[in-house]
């Protein structure tokens, strides 16, 4: 398949874009990465994702697919000769989907709010919420991995991708906040999993360095403070 048949519209700091890239890498799909400027949003973005106007957008044979988890499932459905991303058993698939939805509906909004939190009280409360979420994920890791390396077993799976994409942000939050979110004492499973995930061939080239993310967060926060009130 020609490289230009598969395009991914995205930006390097986005964990959601990373999900799509990891999935494409697992399947060894060649694709063209189109760096989206976001300010202003490109014509291509507005045309291919008119509903949300967000990245990532996968463009396959000129057809756009939006929403990172939908994209990852699409990649799994289309490129069937590569390793499977979702588990084969329907119940296991449902568990992966359940936790992926939890990550998007609960976990990420909390993580994102920490950046903008006003005051120490608010920040502490959010960090506690996040820690509770991480404890749940540590338990889920035990159940899903069944002693193997990843949520998906021997290889990276759907839930590894859904959660692992946030590791950069988690590490940046730890450094900026002087806190420990993944901790050898409290979350030993996840600590080892995180190292394995980041070292994996499908992830290494697309996981942003923590320092770069911290710089990016600072610029982002400054812009937010400078932005006019809604």
């Amino acid at each position: 398949m020609a490289k230009s048949e598969v395009k991914l519209l995205g930006a390097w700091p986005s964990p959601f874009v990373m999900r799509a890239r990891i999935a494409l890498n697992i399947k060894a799909v060649e694709y063209e990465f189109l760096q989206e400027t976001l300010e202003p949003k490109s014509q291509l973005l507005l045309q291919s994702n008119p509903v949300y106007k967000k990245i990532p957008v996968l463009i396959h044979a000129d057809k756009p697919i939006c929403e990172s988890l939908v994209i990852v499932q699409y990649i799994d459905d289309v490129w069937t000769s590569g390793p499977s991303i979702l588990p084969s058993d329907p119940y296991d698939r449902a568990i992966h989907r359940f936790w992926a939805a939890y990550l998007d509906d609960k976990f990420y909004p909390t993580l994102r709010s920490i950046r903008a939190a006003q005051g120490e009280e608010a920040r502490k409360a959010l960090l506690e919420q996040l820690a509770e979420g991480i404890a749940l994920l540590e338990e889920a890791f035990g159940k899903c991995s069944q002693g193997k390396a990843f949520f998906g077993g021997d290889g990276i799976g759907f839930l590894d991708i859904a959660f692992g994409c946030f590791l950069g942000l988690l590490r940046a939050t730890e450094k900026m906040g002087g806190v420990k979110l993944l901790d050898e004492a409290k979350t030993p499973g996840l600590v080892k999993w995180a190292d394995r995930f980041c070292a994996d061939g499908a992830v290494k080239g697309v996981m942003p360095e923590t320092e770069k993310l911290i710089e990016f967060a600072k610029v982002f926060m400054a812009k937010m403070r400078g932005a006019p009130a809604k």
Partner: protein, 225 residues
């Protein structure tokens, strides 16, 4: 081994209704357990400790929560009467719209119902924007999924019965003939479809319930000011 399939629901939950519809459309027998959310059973709390909500599906002792996750599980476990298309792009499109319903359409319509003044006005603008997408999606189709009911129709099912309950209780118009002729046609087709039409919760009971909810919310907001 005898199949054991249980669905935890309430009489009114639109999310639980999705699961009930999916199983009924596929002709899969199941046991129903009605929950009183003001007095949750220990089983519910055990099966859904994270959200403590309905629906919960328990299949041979294994619990699942979150209605859209449950729908995909049902689809993959019982292959008759498929609810999702075979083509990967069409499947992705269906999944996209199902999530859009819960992430954008439902919250904006809910805010039109529950909020007042400026917040209500802003919610109406968002809701109309979302409904426009739905209207466009129905172009040339009887159901969102095509000729037959599918996952997206089940996901949007609450629009068919609850929106007009909200309209009546609140005294607003969300869906009208001028702007949403296709959506209104879909609503009629969906409400009257075999199996679907037998399972609607009592409209009168819903009016009473949402009336009470709106009053309680409004009183709380007034007291907080």
């Amino acid at each position: 081994m005898a199949e054991e399939l249980k669905v935890f629901r309430t009489w009114s939950s639109p999310f639980a209704l999705r699961v009930v519809w999916a199983l009924q459309l596929k002709g899969v027998p199941f046991e129903t357990i009605y929950e009183d959310l003001s007095n949750k059973s220990s089983l519910l709390l055990q099966y859904n400790p994270i959200y403590k909500k309905v629906p919960v599906l328990v299949h041979n002792g294994k619990p699942l929560a979150e209605s859209l996750v449950i729908l995909e599980y049902i689809e993959e476990t019982w292959k008759q009467t498929p609810l999702l298309p075979q083509d990967p792009f069409e499947r992705a499109t269906a999944r996209f719209w199902a999530r859009f319903g819960d992430d954008k359409v439902l919250p904006s319509i809910w805010n039109v119902f529950i909020k007042q003044g400026k917040e209500q006005e802003e919610a109406m603008v968002t809701a109309q924007g979302s409904l426009k997408y739905l209207e466009e999606e129905l172009r040339g189709k009887k159901f969102f999924s095509g000729e037959k009911i599918g996952l997206v129709d089940l996901a949007f099912g609450w629009i068919a019965n609850l929106v007009d309950v909200f309209e009546e209780v609140k005294g607003v118009t969300l869906i009208d003939h001028e702007n949403h002729p296709l959506l209104l046609a879909w609503k009629q087709n969906f409400m009257d479809a075999p199996i679907i039409k037998e399972s609607w919760p009592s409209r009168d009971k819903l009016i009473t319930k949402y009336h009470a909810m709106l009053e309680a919310y409004t009183a709380k907001e007034a007291a907080a000011k």
